[in-house]
Point group: C2
Chain length 242, copies 2
DNA sequence: CGGATCTACGAACAGTGTTCTACGTCACTA
DNA sequence: TAGTGACGTAGAACACTGTTCGTAGATCCG
């Protein structure tokens, strides 16, 4: 008996299921170019998200990319929620975890966070799925384990390290989601709305007098690249650790 | 000419429109109990989200609560996106901003963030709308102005303060969203899946040996109330400020 | 060869946001 | 006072969404 999608999902969450036999049985349309597999579904999904953003990721779009109907996917995937989880799992699996070096724990943690951020930004809006996906996923836990190892090697107390990892991963996801949404808003607005930095400054200057500080420090509020802010926040959190 | 919803929306973003005349003109169904107004829509929407979560907030549900059809809403609201923006605007308007006290800036900032968190958690999942909503909303900016005033009074450099506010609001939204989603997952799973802390510990213990640190420090990883983690992260960021 | 088993897929269902069009009722003008 | 234009209210419909049901077809095991 080949595993149902439900069992695959349970296995991913480490709920004690037997080993899964591949059981590559071919279906009715034997003459098709590629049989539908979970990996093929994931690959198609990534392609769609990379090209058109997470909002464009629908079951029908994936099915169409695989030249089939929507219902065919449900033999390999439980849900769209399940597909989301598979995506962020695969995404986390790509993260390279360095061998912990006590003298460079700060750079190493920053490096992992930056990898995660860049993966999220490569597939715009996918971090929204990361919020919904349960943290019991094995691939997600692998990243947590890696960061924990780095922090512990750096001499951080276990309790502090555990909570800090939570905060860091949460922030990285939130940052990526916000950037993705902002980019989408920019791209969607039919030009003309393109808010350059000077336009932003003008708008701050036009604020009513109930916003004295925002008006005075408009320059500071609008300064910096996105990644500058990212680095700043990471530094903020890491400096508090030790 | 009474303002179209588009104009109302533009006014909220401070785009230079004339003053809006109320023009409370009654429609055809003069005998209805309450005429449909933007405020009535917002109130109904909040009621739905508070009772059933953000996922249940649909145009049809709001319309049904107002005893009308979905299309009637579009005379007062541009979009669902627009409705979302109205909601988080109203939500931010409820935040009380203290008079800056240089000696207590830490507590004051924490207080504002806690208010924001509790508002988000009162309406589960609504923080998802906060991510999408443009930061040019006046009510959102008011909160930013208040936090900026507190940090500046506390002697924080303007550039640091501006970026820190960004990070803080982003984290508060992310935290609230994650908690809301986790609660929903817990409530939705048909009992039996209820993962108490001991069940969580058991599951950590059952991890493969590739997760040595996660297994050893399972207690630390699962320790603490949610709000403990929130306070911890806020402390982390604020300590880095000065 | 026969029966069991699993994949693939078309059709359909209950939802979603949004738009079009008509319908009354109101406020203002001649 | 009668007419007229404007505006809020809806009903119906469109193009979508995720998901399920039933069925046809190919494969494997006995």
């Amino acid at each position: 008996m080949s595993p149902t999608p439900q069992e695959r999902r349970a296995a991913r969450h480490q709920l004690g299921t037997g080993p899964d036999a591949p059981a590559a049985r071919r279906g009715p349309s034997g003459g098709r170019k590629k049989p539908i597999t979970v990996d093929a579904i994931i690959a198609s999904a990534f392609g769609i998200v990379e090209a058109e953003g997470y909002e464009a990721l629908t079951m029908r779009r994936v099915a169409a990319a695989l030249e089939t109907g929507p219902s065919s996917l449900y033999a390999h995937v439980v849900n769209k929620e399940d597909l989301d989880e598979l995506l962020i799992g695969r995404l986390c699996a790509e993260i390279e975890l360095p061998e912990p070096d006590p003298d460079r724990w700060r750079q190493q943690i920053t490096g992992v966070c930056t990898q995660l951020r860049d993966q999220y930004l490569r597939y715009p809006g996918i971090s929204r799925a990361a919020f919904a996906s349960a943290p019991s996923n094995l691939d997600t836990l692998r990243v947590g384990e890696g960061m924990l190892a780095i922090l512990l090697a750096g001499g951080i107390a276990p309790q502090t390290a555990a909570w800090a990892i939570d905060s860091l991963m949460l922030y990285v996801g939130a940052y990526s989601l916000e950037v993705s949404l902002a980019n989408r808003r920019l791209a969607r607005s039919d030009e003309e709305w393109v808010v350059g930095r000077d336009e932003l400054l003008r708008r701050f200057a036009a604020l009513p007098d109930t916003f004295p500080n925002s008006k005075r420090y408009a320059a500071e509020l609008t300064a910096g690249t996105l990644h500058d802010r990212f680095d700043f926040t990471l530094g903020l959190m890491l400096d508090g650790l030790g």
